[in-house]
Amino acid sequence: MLEKYDFIIIGGGVVGSMIARWLSRYEASVLLIEKEADICMGASSANTAIVHAGYDPLPGSLKARMNIVGNPMWDQLSGELSFPFERRGDYVVAVGEEELPGLDTLMEQGKVNGVPGMKMLSKAEVLAREKNINPDVSGALWASTGGICDPFAVTIAAAENAVMNGVKVLLNTSFEDFIMEGTRIVGIKTNRGDFGCRWVINSAGMYSDEIMHKAGIRPEFVIKPRRGEYFVFDRADLTIDNVLFPVPSLKGKGILVTTTLHGNTIIGPNSVFGEEKEDRSTTHEGLEEIWQGAKNLVPCLNQKHIIAMFVGLRPYGNGPCKSPGIDYQHDYIIEIPTEVQGFVNLGGIESPGLTSSPAIAQEVVDLLKDAGEKLKEKKEWDPVRRARPRFRDMSHKERKLLIEKDPRYGRVICRCENVTEGEIAAEIHAPIPATTYDALKRRTWLGTGRCQGGFDMPRVVKIIADELGVSPLEVTKKGQGSNFLLRPTKQVGA
């Protein structure tokens, strides 16, 4: 018998997870499949972690609408799902007089889009607010509704809340093809078997083009990976309190300087088109580009304090804007196409995709309702997902109490980020189990500090092995084919 669902969501990024959480509110069976060993492995995992105010997207585009609708949803969302989010506001910084007109353009665009709380700041005001900024700054656009979040925490919280409310999540499960009855989609084939369904929701990010092509939709639509490289700095050496954008250019929002909610300064990204959808390799040239770009905003950056670097891939699409009279070819696709039945099609969800994700989830629900889907609210739906304890953020007193309850919280495994065995074990046994090193890293921030796991790695591998009841040889960094260890030391030639 084929396992049957009302909805199957393809892709466990922030958009897929938000949709799962939104659908979990209704009386319907939902399956989310993710091809990787964890959720939040694609574009959602490597970005600037900013909740954008909304002055950047082109007025009239779906991007602009989703951004503007999405931004105010974050306060309630972070409250319900207990993920860290701070509305710190952000700055677009003009360096030199010649960049000042760029700020006016953005201000105008923001007003048309309907962004509240924007203000022009003078040179003196900017210098007073951020001590590390380039002294040649000429002014800045301030947007009070900009915010920062932890994109892993957001995605994981949304997916967990969905699971709490009955959604099934299958990891390591990749879409292979649709099962059709005429022009109606009735299921999907995956590497882990077939599943029946009434609706498939395409939130496959980088691969959304391939999925819609399999359904026969939009053959001209292609996703190109647009790479962005980043550096992360040791928070003990440098703290930047604010989100600082440069004045945008044709290439995009530009190389910014921002801070994570953990206090680490981040610089990046550049914008380079790649060919490979999985190529997350940094390049010498790219790293140099972001270095120079960031130095223009914050000259005191010091290479010595870099502790990590990574690449994010933006799923850059060629979806045309639907608004009449606007010639824009890189808009979001959020639609229920008429060529096939039972398909919600999303594509090209790049920045501000994180900001827009709750709005997109709501949009999907609205589209389904418009399509005649009778979504009946569950009585027992629980919108609240509680965060698990984070030793690092606790007071001495709270720590004491926590360890009294579970002594494993007394054993610190990651010295730089103060992550305990208790937290690691809790994540391994969470509603969406973290079974790889990277999955634990993204949830607890172990190994993200200045020693980059040099100390904790052997200990964490042991804990994962013990908790899962497997050999350390089976423990991986990020899923199949990424085992840390090859063989026992003494088994030569085995």
């Binding site: 026992p488 030391t489 003494k490 030569v492």
Partner: protein, 131 residues
Amino acid sequence: MEELKKLICISCPQGCTLEVTVEGKTVLKVDGESCKQGIEYAEQEITDPRRMIASTVQVKNGYHPLVPVYTKMPIPKNTIKNVLKELRKVELTAPVALGTVVIKNVLGTGIDVITSRDMPTRTAEQDHFLK
């Protein structure tokens, strides 16, 4: 025929560069040494090169799965590979004390391989921490 050979003395961390004049396997002259160990090393290295070897052997029920071992004296260089092979066959049972002979007179070299630390049993170690 006389020959000049360059060696680096490994007797101590200083690592002096030695210029050794040899004829066949006979050392005629040593230059560049900072102490008499250099001369001894040159003599040894030309006639019978030897090395200290440190590795590990398996230990059953130990706090760690391996216990480190080393050769009490330097062993002939050409026996290293086979000594390592012998060590792979060994399995001790915890507890093991520092200095325990792991292989006596390894491969007839006259030299013992011994452990370089205590290895308590898993439970004893845990008890030890709980005290």
